[in-house]
């Protein structure tokens, strides 16, 4: 009874569209046609055609970015949180500044990055030239597109830092006192006490980081549009291109089904390995 309103809302807002996506992935579905086509859409995903190559690249890039996000991004967020939890001078300013990319519109952020990395007028090349390398000119989003695109989100782990900081603040002080009495200090306290105690929040951060990469769209669309070639193509951008540029909704929905499957698999894995202890202990 208590769950009924939530369940009805879930069915109408999420389950129905997800089912629609699933069902239409078996159709030749465009703005003008809707014909059952069996597994054709799924076959073309693994074919040697341009669509197949694009799909394989998009899945590969998405998985690499998920991997980097759940390791480098989360680790960085945790490290910054551990550092800030000691409340060094100016820690509140650093916490706010680190959070800034998370509160700026992603479309605006895309334009900012595009200008920062611009080959002629960009700040990055400008600084390098000012440091003495006067002829330096790298077209970042073309010559090092994957790296540059990756940097636009991997280093900014403000959300992870805020979550971990909040969890660290809730750890009773007497635990740390006992640790110090037993002779632990510095990184040993972090390693043996703080990190195990914030494990569930790290798990939550991993889920957030992974799912953020499953729906990352704006920054790529605004900067490289998946190029050069298909170097920075990911699943959401490919789905957009198939649905809105080619109007091949059936194929786009087949890709959507794969994306949902990857998302569900990730959540199950993280639940099993990082979040299970809380449920076992309660």
């Amino acid at each position: 009874m208590f769950l009924a309103p939530t369940l009805v809302l879930f069915l109408l807002i999420y389950a129905v569209p997800i089912l629609t996506v699933g069902v239409t992935s078996f159709f030749d579905y465009s703005y003008a046609t809707l014909t059952f086509s069996g597994l054709d859409n799924y076959r073309s995903l693994v074919s040697g055609t341009l669509t197949g190559r694009e799909f394989v690249k998009a899945v590969g890039n998405t998985l690499i970015w998920i991997g980097l996000q759940i390791t480098v991004h989360v680790a960085l967020g945790v490290l910054v949180a551990l550092g800030l939890s000691r409340k060094p001078f100016g820690w509140k300013t650093v916490r706010t500044a680190y959070m800034l990319p998370n509160i700026v519109s992603l479309a605006a952020l895309g334009i900012i990055y595009l200008n920062l990395f611009d080959s002629r007028r960009g700040l990055v090349n400008g600084v390098i030239r000012a440091l003495g390398n006067k002829d330096f000119s790298v077209n970042w989003y073309v010559e090092h597109a994957f790296l540059t695109t990756t940097l636009t989100w991997t280093l900014f782990a403000g959300l992870v830092t805020i979550l971990i900081l909040a969890d660290i603040a809730s750890i009773p002080e007497d635990i740390y006192e006992s640790a110090r009495i037993d002779g632990a200090s510095g990184w040993k306290i972090d390693w043996y006490f703080t990190l195990p105690l914030v494990r569930n929040t790290i798990g939550t951060s991993v889920i957030l980081a992974a799912t953020s990469m499953l729906k990352e769209f704006e920054l790529i669309y605004m900067t490289t549009n998946g190029g050069p070639g298909i170097a920075t193509l990911n699943l959401p951008l490919l789905i957009y291109k198939k649905a809105l540029i080619e109007q091949n909704y059936g194929l786009a929905n087949a890709m959507g089904v794969v994306t949902i499957a990857i998302g569900v698999l990730l959540i199950v894995l993280v639940n099993r390995h990082l979040l299970s202890s809380r449920f076992e202990s309660t």
């Binding site: 009874m1 009924a4 369940l7 069915l11 109408l12 389950a15 129905v16 089912l19 629609t20 069902v23 239409t24 159709f27 579905y29 465009s30 703005y31 003008a32 046609t33 809707l34 055609t49 341009l50 669509t51 611009d118 080959s119 002629r120 007028r121 000119s137 077209n139 989003y141 073309v142 010559e143 490289t224 549009n225 998946g226 190029g227 050069p228 070639g229 298909i230 291109k241 809105l244 540029i245 080619e246 109007q247 091949n248 909704y249």
Partner: protein
Amino acid sequence: MKRTLLRILPILLALSLLVPALSGCGPKVTNTPEPGKEVVLNYPTFQVGVNSSAPVLAEVIKQFNAKYAGTIKIEIEEIPGDQAYVDKMKILLSANELPDIVYAGGYNLLDMALEKNAVLDLTPYLDADAAWKASFDQVTLDFNSRNGKVYSQPDEKGMFGYFYNKDLFAEAGVEPATTWEGFVTVCDTLKAKGITPLSMDTDDSAWLTNLWLSSILATSSETGRTFMKERNPKNYNFPEFISALELIQKMFKDYTTADAVGGKYENGANNFINGVTAMIANGPWMISDFTDETKAPAGFDEKVGVALYPGSGLFNEPMLGYFIAAKTKEKQDAAVTALKFFTSTEMETMALEMIGRIPASTKVEVSSTNDKVHPILASLVNISKDAQYNYNYYQALWYPNVLDAITSYYPEFALGNKTPTEMAQILTETAGQN
């Protein structure tokens, strides 16, 4: 409760399966306005904000709503950005919910809407109004017709050559080239003088770059010209296209700025306006930028000349115009009234004077009005008489996914990581997905 939910669940799931089937065959809207009530027309547009046509459209709508106050009202829905507009129209088309009036100029939305039977046939309206029909030449009517029926009407014509900086040309001692071999020599001479010859781009379907590509093709041979007339071509893998790409690759490598690769139209436009580059391929709407002191140095327009493309080529073809997707008779009639107003002599003259837009109407005398207002436009109209080859531009002809592939693959191609043959093959393969 649990049992009730279990009963409801299969019904909801079954209904969800019907959603796609129902969405494709929804009933036509039948709501009819009450007699004597004001008919409200929905018109989404990207000609807002910083778009060069925004002031003209605002004035046209203002005058229309004033003239037809109490009977017809056009409500503008602002959609900044061409691509956002095209995307939205496609979504609305899929849902059978196109707005009452749709602007298809420059984007091939008409054929898609026709596939879904969502477009009003304007032929009876044109036949009933001889004066309106006479304001379009036969070429324009044919371009906006399918199977003998007229489906859209434009208020402008696409006519564009390329602009060059007369001071920079004089500094290098060159004149606009008449052949492509001569064009390469001009570029080499400019480069030798330390002047970057061309503004180019790769983003947003590489507008600046592909105007050159289209011109190379259309002036190359009969095959190239036939290709540049073809709607939604599927094969790009032929010798003329490949050799045109070879020259484009050379232009990227030797004659343009570093920010052209991966760069947007705005980079190229700024480079030309600020005297960084000597040539830019673009339409007459850019002329108003040359005189706008917030964008260009004072007096910059006096430095700008306009020329035919080497090989005596010019983009000079009719454009697709507005079509009507209104579903009730009252709205359809009101939308036709709006189209007649948009394409009237008064409104097209106003657009010509405000932003230098070339009118579609045969009733507007371009030369009599524009030489005082826009000398560069007057010059363009003058040289257009000498053009040996007139052709349409790629964006109105090629598949949207081919335009997107160009945006994605041009940077690699520009850097020499893809050969012209590989590029042509990719475009062919991409077009084949449609």
